[in-house]
């Protein structure tokens, strides 16, 4: 069973299945983007849309009541490659990260002799037109390893993932930071064009059409939305397990900060009179009731510092997609701010407490 709705194409209504609509929309949009970049050819995208409308109309006349995914695939194939045969291709694709790097490597390679130069040329050929994206369709956390594997031309990112885990253990966690930086810096491959250049394929109407058709085949099995690579499940379990271990201290800290606040509230309400036998306790309580402000700040900062990673870990465990850039940045900033504020206030309070007791 599929959801079906009506679209209006040049004044004519067509009943179209949801997946067929999404594919058609993706196709027309990528054609639009493609021809918009080429001077004087903007109209071609419009011609293609008219042609699609015409083919759909013919289909309707033949008695097909709804437009399904096969019809759209067929239409995309029928239109074929909307480029002039042997049309001069100005493949002035934006120079990729890799190419810039390679330019710098070129001189070094030429100096180093023919063997290195051979490797250099091979690498250059491989990286031509390739861009580094996070792989949205094959990911465990942020798709960084999937993207790296695609960038280097490997189809299965398992070794990249295992490698990352290994170097993270060896470097005592340094590579986690590298991973996070790549996660933030690298864009996610969100359009068919992105996914083509992630795989280092040329972007032209022909390859775009093929890519879009292939993606519809991937979606034919809706319950396995991502390719099931070797060890994917195991690795995910491992990551989730590690995150769960991280959760424990965080939750304990969170509980402590909440208890702290409860205690402070109790003090503020005058329960301090019960515990006044020991002079040390007495002086501490006196300090706390007079310096209540800064201790509250510490407690709230501790709360924020605990809650943000807990929230993030829960999102990762539940696997409900990556967070948007905006949210990620806001949380990260908030976390750093809370941590800094907490440490500074904590330090000040401790020195304050020491001088209160006459230790300084």
């Amino acid at each position: 069973m599929k959801k079906n709705f009506s679209i209006n194409l040049y004044g004519e209504l067509y009943d179209i299945d949801e997946d067929a609509y999404e594919t058609l929309d993706k196709y027309l949009k990528s054609m639009n983007r493609y021809f918009k970049k080429r001077k004087g050819e903007e109209e071609v995208a419009d011609d293609i849309e008219h042609r699609v409308a015409e083919l759909l109309w013919e289909r309707k006349e033949q008695g097909h009541k709804t437009v399904d995914i096969d019809a759209i695939r067929h239409i995309i194939q029928q239109i074929g490659n909307p480029e002039e045969i042997d049309g001069e291709r100005d493949n002035s694709a934006e120079s990729s990260l890799g190419e810039n790097f390679m330019d710098a490597a070129k001189e070094a390679a030429q100096k180093a002799g023919p063997a290195v130069n051979g490797v250099y040329n091979k690498a250059k050929e491989h990286l031509r037109g390739r861009r580094f994206y996070r792989n949205a369709t094959d990911k465990i956390l942020g798709g960084v390893c999937g993207g790296l594997a695609s960038y280097c031309g490997h189809s299965d990112p398992i070794w990249w993932r295992l490698g990352f885990v290994a170097v993270t253990c060896l470097s005592q966690g340094f590579f986690v930071i590298l991973y996070l930086i790549l996660w933030i810096v690298a864009p996610e491959a969100s359009t068919p064009e992105d996914r083509l250049s992630m795989q280092g394929k040329d972007i032209n109407p022909q390859t775009l059409g093929e890519q879009i058709i292939n993606e519809t085949h991937d979606n034919d099995a809706p319950f396995v939305p991502r390719p099931n690579h070797t060890g994917r499940g195991c690795l995910r379990m491992l990551v989730v397990g590690m995150l769960c271990i991280l959760l424990f201290p965080l939750i304990i800290l969170l509980t402590l900060s909440i208890l702290w606040m409860v205690g402070m509230s109790a003090l503020a309400l005058g329960f301090s009179t019960i515990l006044t036998s020991d002079p040390m306790v007495n002086s501490t309580i006196n300090f706390l009731t007079t310096n209540g402000g800064s201790t509250w700040v510490i407690a709230i900062c501790l709360l924020i510092v605990c809650i943000i990673p807990i929230y993030t870990i829960f999102r990762i465990i539940r696997d409900d997609g990556t967070m948007g850039m905006g949210l990620t940045f806001t949380l990260l900033l908030l976390w750093i701010a809370a941590l800094t504020c907490g440490i500074v206030t904590g330090f000040l309070t401790v020195t304050n407490f020491a001088s209160w007791n006459g230790w300084l």
Binding site: E54, E84, P205
Partner: protein, 106 residues
């Protein structure tokens, strides 16, 4: 000699000439051109026609006007401009002479 390149150059030249021939007879739209090419056993990937028509229009050989259709969306009917007529005349004569030459050489 790059045989594929030569073939596509020949086909490309032919394609433009054939479009001029069709548009000369009467104003015509893309689907008509595709059908007539198919009838004439000339294999054309449908999509390649649109950029070609677009370029010929930009080069001033063709002009089009929109016409409402009772069968589907409105259509662009292409006709020859004066430059297009002139180009067709030149292509006709070169075609005749090429045809003769090839006929003699074969």
């Amino acid at each position: 000699m790059n045989i594929e390149n030569t073939k596509s150059q020949m086909r490309k030249g032919m394609l433009e000439y054939c479009i001029l021939l069709l548009a000369h007879k009467q104003p015509t739209y893309a689907n008509d051109i595709i059908k007539q090419f198919q009838d004439a056993d000339m294999i054309v990937v449908e999509g390649t026609l649109y950029p070609l028509l677009n370029r010929m229009k930009r080069d001033g050989l063709l002009q089009y006007e929109w016409k409402e259709s009772t069968q589907g969306p409105p259509r662009k009917y292409y006709a020859l401009t004066e430059d297009g007529e002139e180009a067709l005349k030149q292509l006709n004569s070169i075609w005749d002479s090429l045809n003769r030459t090839v006929g003699i050489l074969k």
